[in-house]
């Protein structure tokens, strides 16, 4: 959702090697066998859900997020390995989306990728020399065997696999993890690309080796004038390695800014949560760390409004409260009750599946043959136990009916990209309009009967 509220900072266009605007990549998902058996529709996953960014020449841009954040899909979409559903990607002004594979192939020489698993990205049946030289053959740049070998040697030496003659004829199985990743890097740079997308390049390597590979990558960047996109879930290495960092959640960039700012002054609650969750090798810090509850939700039907709101400690009225949040809260409460209390309360409400349909106007149903009072009691107990849970700020009205308790939520607002300091943040907490709307709601609420 790019808009005029804020654009990612871009000086002159010439400075940006890559410009991405409102990119969407959607997968359709066939449900599992069981889903289909139960009549659950297949859906689509918005793996990349409205991403805009600029990649400045020579920088290292981090894409940080947990699984399901879409960071890998974004990386692949940028490279044309996955087809974008809509939006634009410009490489030095040239549009990449909508191109056929044949048209894209020459462009592949300018953008390369390093995958996560060094053990799996090298063809086990080929020698290192052949693997590293292969890109030259793919693009028909070199065919002479001697020259292929020479170029491969050069690349291997560059990445520290020296003397190259020792490695040219070895097979991947003969190399250690770090050495394999170096070979992968050699292969990636042999064509002289401008942009390198590194997808978790060190996460499968041991600690004592990671630093070596990262250092190598930094050297290569300087020597070869590269620009990196560094995809990872590890904020610690990202902090060290990246100039700017984009934090991703459920296909969206929720915060994008200079690395130092991200760590010292995170503006988005999710960023702050990620930082708190990192285990530090310092036993003086202890658990718990005020973690967001729950987990990354199902991407097929993302939460209404802001995707992070169900877990956000600072969510408020307009963040997108809905029926599923009610169910989550209820079930969460029930895990903390004793078995007997749970059974008693469970008997007070009917089938909760109605809450699974995302809606701002929903109903907590009565049990069979019961009255609306029963679920109302449960709701009241829930509220009494946790009155300051952000959820309640989102409840506009409740009404006891014969079918159950009708719960209405405030109208969800979709968060916009906003400029805060030197970063771009997609969060209502920084949106004057959203804050104003919430203020109005609160005034209205205080004026009338307390719900």
């Amino acid at each position: 959702m790019s808009d005029t509220a804020a654009q990612p900072s871009a000086e002159t266009s010439g400075e940006n090697v890559l410009e991405v605007r409102d990119l969407h990549t959607t997968y359709s998902v066939r449900g599992s066998f069981f889903d289909r058996l139960r009549g659950r529709e297949s859906g689509s996953v918005r793996a990349v859900d409205g991403v805009s960014l600029d990649l400045r020449r020579g920088e290292v841009l981090g894409l940080v997020g947990e699984s399901g954040s879409g960071k890998t899909t974004l990386g692949r979409t940028l490279l044309g390995l996955v087809e974008a559903t809509s939006g634009s990607i410009r490489l030095d002004g040239e549009e990449l989306t909508g191109r056929s594979e044949a048209e894209l192939r020459p462009l592949r020489r300018r953008m390369q990728i390093v995958f996560q698993d060094p053990h799996a990205s090298l063809n086990p049946a080929m020698t290192i020399g052949a693997l590293v030289a292969d890109p030259l053959r793919f693009h028909k740049l070199v065919s002479d065997r001697e020259e292929l070998r020479a170029r491969a040697s050069e690349a291997l030496e560059r990445v520290g696999l020296a003397p190259a003659s020792e490695f040219l004829d070895k097979f991947p199985a003969d190399l250690s993890g770090g050495q394999k990743q170096r070979a992968v890097l050699a292969r990636a740079i042999i064509l002289g690309p401008d942009v390198l997308v590194a997808d978790e390049p060190v996460s499968m390597l041991d600690m004592s080796v990671r630093a070596k590979i990262l250092e190598l990558m930094l050297e290569l960047k300087d020597e070869l004038d590269l620009t990196y996109i560094y995809i990872t879930h590890d904020l610690a290495t990202a902090k060290f390695f990246c100039d700017r960092i984009a934090i991703m959640y459920l296909g969206q960039i929720v915060e994008l800014g200079p690395a130092a700012d991200i760590y010292e002054r995170p503006h988005h609650p999710y960023t702050a949560a990620l930082l708190r969750a990192i285990p530090e090798p310092d036993p003086r810090r202890t658990v718990p760390r005020d973690l967001p509850r729950g987990e990354v939700p199902d991407a097929v039907v993302p939460p209404l409004g802001c995707p992070f709101h169900p877990r956000c400690p600072k969510a408020f009225e307009v963040c997108g409260w809905e029926s599923r949040d009610l169910r989550t809260l209820l079930e969460d409460r029930w895990t903390r009750l004793s078995q007997d209390d749970y059974e008693r309360e469970r008997a007070g409400v009917g089938n909760l599946d109605v809450l699974d349909v995302p809606s701002v106007d929903t109903i907590l149903p009565v049990p069979d043959g019961g009255t609306g009072e029963q679920p109302a009691e449960v709701l009241a107990a829930m509220r009494a136990d946790a009155a300051d849970d952000p959820f309640w700020s989102g409840v506009a009205a409740t009404e006891v009916t014969d079918a159950g308790v009708r719960v209405r939520f405030h109208e969800p607002r979709v968060p916009r990209d906003l400029r805060v300091d030197r970063s771009v943040v997609r969060c209502h907490l920084h949106d004057p309009e959203a804050l104003a709307a919430a203020e109005e709601i609160r005034r209205g609420r205080d004026g009338t009967q307390n719900v």
Binding site: I278, W334, T335
Partner: protein, 352 residues
């Protein structure tokens, strides 16, 4: 020589799990892989011991070796005592009786460890019926739901299938399955490696609760030093099949006695990292490890004696057990043994 880890505030008295000089060697058709080569440690009730090391150091083999879950081609020697009972050499039947109700195990990849064709309820029923035939169905259900609730799994989802849960929830289900039998010892083999950082932190919180509320002795195997610092009372650092250093977590992290521990801590990239450090060279092959001290080829503090004699375990000043000539014993170091070791620089080709 005192090599038993002391139980400090917890449990006290006899350790629940006592491992002495354990060796696990794998046959390969050629020279054997000496995955675990003389490891000793003990865990008391309510204590959490973190076993940390990089890939190929033998820590997973150690975890499985303790439970007797090794492939046929593995030979085991040494002693593993569980509440006084010797496990090495115990019959398959005997081990099977202990695994579950007494010795629990959590694996790394919860996706592949749960049967996709059985509901969660079925998993629990099977486990409890097998090991607690004295319980009736109602009791089984009650315990299962309670354990699951303790893990934050909604009771309403008891009848669902594993694929309907996320990775983090599946791992919690696995932990619940292990805990519902109330084992005395829980071995967790990289329980959070495949999970995201927030979920990982949540699970660490659960493990922390375990320490407080139950008396389970936990062996937490991981390569992540941060986790160890957060979740463990004591830590054992493993290198090339041996334990380099073992002691109270706070002390080991604050004042590491073994150069490997120190270098590992230095090379760990955390939020505080300002410069990149790493350990030159690569972890050694377990088939033909370096003679004497296995770390000496890569150790910045290596002395002559380190290449000639295997270190003798001693107590470091801060209290941990350590296997390193830097800490003596003086009497065993020959004349001139303390001179720095001269070695060739590592060829780049040998770098990992």
């Amino acid at each position: 020589m005192n090599a038993v880890g002391d139980n400090r505030e917890r449990g006290g008295g006899e350790p629940i799990l006592d491992v002495r000089d354990l060796r696990v060697w794998y046959g390969t058709g050629g020279d054997p892989v000496r995955a675990v080569d003389g490891v000793s440690f003990s865990i008391g009730a309510g204590e959490t011991l973190g076993l940390v090391g990089e890939s190929g150091c033998g820590k997973s083999t150690l975890g499985r070796g303790v439970l007797g879950l090794l492939p046929d081609a593995a030979a085991v020697a040494g002693s593993v005592r569980f509440r006084g009972r010797e496990l090495v050499g115990l019959s398959v039947k005997g081990l099977r009786e202990l695994r579950g109700p007494e010795l629990g195990l959590i694996f790394q990849e919860p996706m592949t460890r749960l049967d996709p064709l059985q509901t969660i309820e079925a998993h629990f029923r099977e486990t409890l019926r097998t090991h607690r035939p004295d319980l009736d169905d109602d009791e089984i259900r009650r315990r299962s739901l309670e354990t699951l609730a303790g893990m934050g799994i909604p009771r309403t989802r008891f009848g669902q299938y594993p694929h309907e849960f996320s990775g983090g929830m599946r791992q919690r289900i696995m932990i619940a399955l292990a805990l519902v039998l109330e084992p005395k010892v829980l071995i967790a083999d990289e329980p959070t490696t495949a999970l995201d950082v927030i979920v990982e932190a949540q699970i660490l919180g659960i493990l922390a609760d375990l320490r407080r509320n139950f008396d389970t002795a936990i062996l937490l195997i991981t390569h992540n030093l941060g986790i160890v610092a957060e979740a463990c009372d004591r830590v054992a650092v493993m290198y090339a099949g041996e334990i380099a250093e073992e002691g109270d977590a706070r002390e080991v992290f604050a004042e590491p006695a073994h150069p490997y521990t120190r270098e590992l801590l230095r090379s760990t990239i955390s939020l505080e990292t300002t410069g990149l450090n790493y350990i030159p060279g690569a972890p050694p092959s377990l088939i033909d490890p370096p003679p004497a001290c296995r770390f000496h080829p890569r150790c910045p503090n290596a002395m002559r004696v380190c290449a000639e004699r295997h270190p003798i375990e001693v107590r470091a000043p801060a209290g941990q057990r350590v296997s390193c000539w830097l800490h003596g014993p003086e009497g065993e170091i020959p004349e001139g043994g303390r001179e720095p070791l001269e070695r060739e620089e590592f060829l780049e080709a040998e770098e990992a």
